[in-house]
């Protein structure tokens, strides 16, 4: 137990900060994922075939290719791409991107593909009459989406979004390969230092279990509150 003590003798405080890092990355990735979903859901639902192909390409690619491969692509290719853009503007120095940003972005792209599917499913399961009623009442396309479709969509999407959150939370363990000190990375450091991998990886598993358990409780509470409104 002294291995988990806070302060200089144990790894308690390090693991605590690593847990905060995992939570921070998960939330950031989830938000970045929403941004992607905001772009690609309309594309997937669009009338134009060309835009559909674009939207489908994103979700099929991300859901069919391992997360680790996407992370490697962004981790090794990310700074290259940014340096290329910078060189167009006449900046030729080496640019190193923050591991937090690139990690959140990578997990965000993955989480976005799942969110897109969730939002698409939610919009498609809204009764057609709602769209028609909005049209008949003379709402513009924009207001009918934000005032009528969007609130209903959110209610239908929340149960599935909680699954996406779980997936995102567990996926953040993969960005430990980029060197960002989150739970997995910290456990690796601690177990290399103390030669006690069994203990520290079990602790890492336990922290993840607690995180998934607590977030489920929180989401269920939120869901109950939100659902009662309707």
């Amino acid at each position: 137990m002294e291995l988990l003590a806070f302060g200089k003798t144990g790894w308690g405080d390090e693991l605590f900060y690593a847990t905060l890092m995992t939570i921070a990355v998960s939330i950031t990735s989830m938000l970045i994922g929403f941004l992607f979903a905001l772009i690609f859901t309309p594309l997937k639902l669009s009338k134009y075939k060309f835009l559909n192909i674009f939207g489908n390409f994103y979700t099929t690619l991300i859901r069919g290719v391992p997360e680790l491969l996407v992370i490697y692509l962004l981790f090794f290719g990310g700074s290259g791409a940014i340096m290329y853009v910078a060189s167009i503007f006449g900046y030729f120095e080496y640019i190193e991107i923050n591991a937090f940003l690139i990690g959140s972005f990578a997990i965000g792209i993955i989480s976005g593909a799942y969110s897109t599917e969730v939002f698409r499913g939610a919009i498609q399961s809204i009764d057609k009459g709602q769209f028609e009623a909005a049209k008949v009442l003379g709402f513009s396309k924009f207001t009918s989406f934000y005032k009528i479709i969007f609130p209903q969509m959110l209610r239908l999407a929340i149960p599935n979004l909680s699954n996406v959150w779980q997936i995102t939370l567990k996926d953040t363990s993969l960005i430990s390969v980029t060197g960002l000190v989150e739970i997995m990375r910290q456990s690796r450091i601690a177990s290399a230092f103390t030669r006690d991998p069994l203990f520290f990886y079990s602790i890492a598993g336990l922290i993840f279990l607690i995180l998934t358990f607590l977030s489920m409780k929180l989401i269920n509470k939120f869901e109950a509150k939100f659902m009662n409104k309707g």
Partner: protein, 223 residues
């Protein structure tokens, strides 16, 4: 775009895909049996047995697969008594450690899929079997299990794809699967996009095949 690199690394990644396929198939097969076993335990009337099966699926679904692999590969090597036992022959090999982790993980998800499939079976089917004088055992093996398997096919297809993506984690325990080879090529050539295109296409092709396979099975066992 470096066409030479694409042409050169394609055969390397293709041979690596054999390891990915092997990992996937072996763990899926073990996973199905584990899943069926734990799904049956979940339906037990004994509360301890039920809780045990629930705990198993909760733990393996609530923690990242990476943690599970690391515990089995790095963690278990620390136990002295295990090192002296016969099991060490299996556990010292990263290939078998990956298979154990993947099978246990896949078993947890499969048990949930099968459990919900068992629950959706209409009681009238079981009653019909009973009224025909079929024994409980035969009802279970000849009526409940086939229907449950048919019901769970679509969800199991997703699980197969998730598992296929999961096998990429074998690269973290020194196995040279598609992702492992891809990472090695990327870190020596610093050309991630070209490598990603090939490795990604191989994975996508496998996803496509799994989808087609499940559709075929669904059609065949349609009722």
């Amino acid at each position: 775009m470096d066409i030479d690199l694409i042409i050169n690394s394609f055969p390397k990644l293709l041979t690596a895909s054999l390891i990915t396929l092997k990992l996937l198939l072996v763990s899926l097969i073990i996973g199905v049996f584990l899943g069926l076993f734990f799904a049956i335990l979940r339906m037990s009337k004994n509360i301890f047995v039920k809780q045990f099966a629930y705990g198993y699926s909760y733990i393996f679904r609530g923690t990242p697969l990476l943690v599970q692999i690391f515990i089995i590969y790095f963690g278990l090597a620390q136990l002295e008594w295990l090192k002296k036992s016969v099991l060490w022959v299996i556990l010292k090999d990263p290939y078998w450690c990956a298979i154990i982790a993947f099978s246990l993980n896949s078993g947890a998800y499969t048990s949930e899929i099968l459990r919900s499939a068992f629950q959706t079976i209409h009681t009238s089917m079981i009653e019909a079997g009973k009224s025909l004088g079929i024994s409980n055992k035969i009802i279970f093996y000849k009526i409940q299990i086939p229907i449950a398997i048919r019901q769970s096919l679509p969800a199991y297809g997703n699980e197969m794809i998730l598992m296929m993506k999961g096998t990429s984690l074998a690269s973290t325990v020194t196995l040279m699967d598609i992702t492992g080879v891809a990472q090695k090529i990327i870190s020596t050539t610093f050309k991630p996009i070209e490598v990603f295109i090939i490795a990604g296409s191989i994975y996508l092709f496998m996803t496509f095949c799994i989808n087609k396979f499940i559709k075929l099975l669904e059609k065949k066992y349609n009722f």
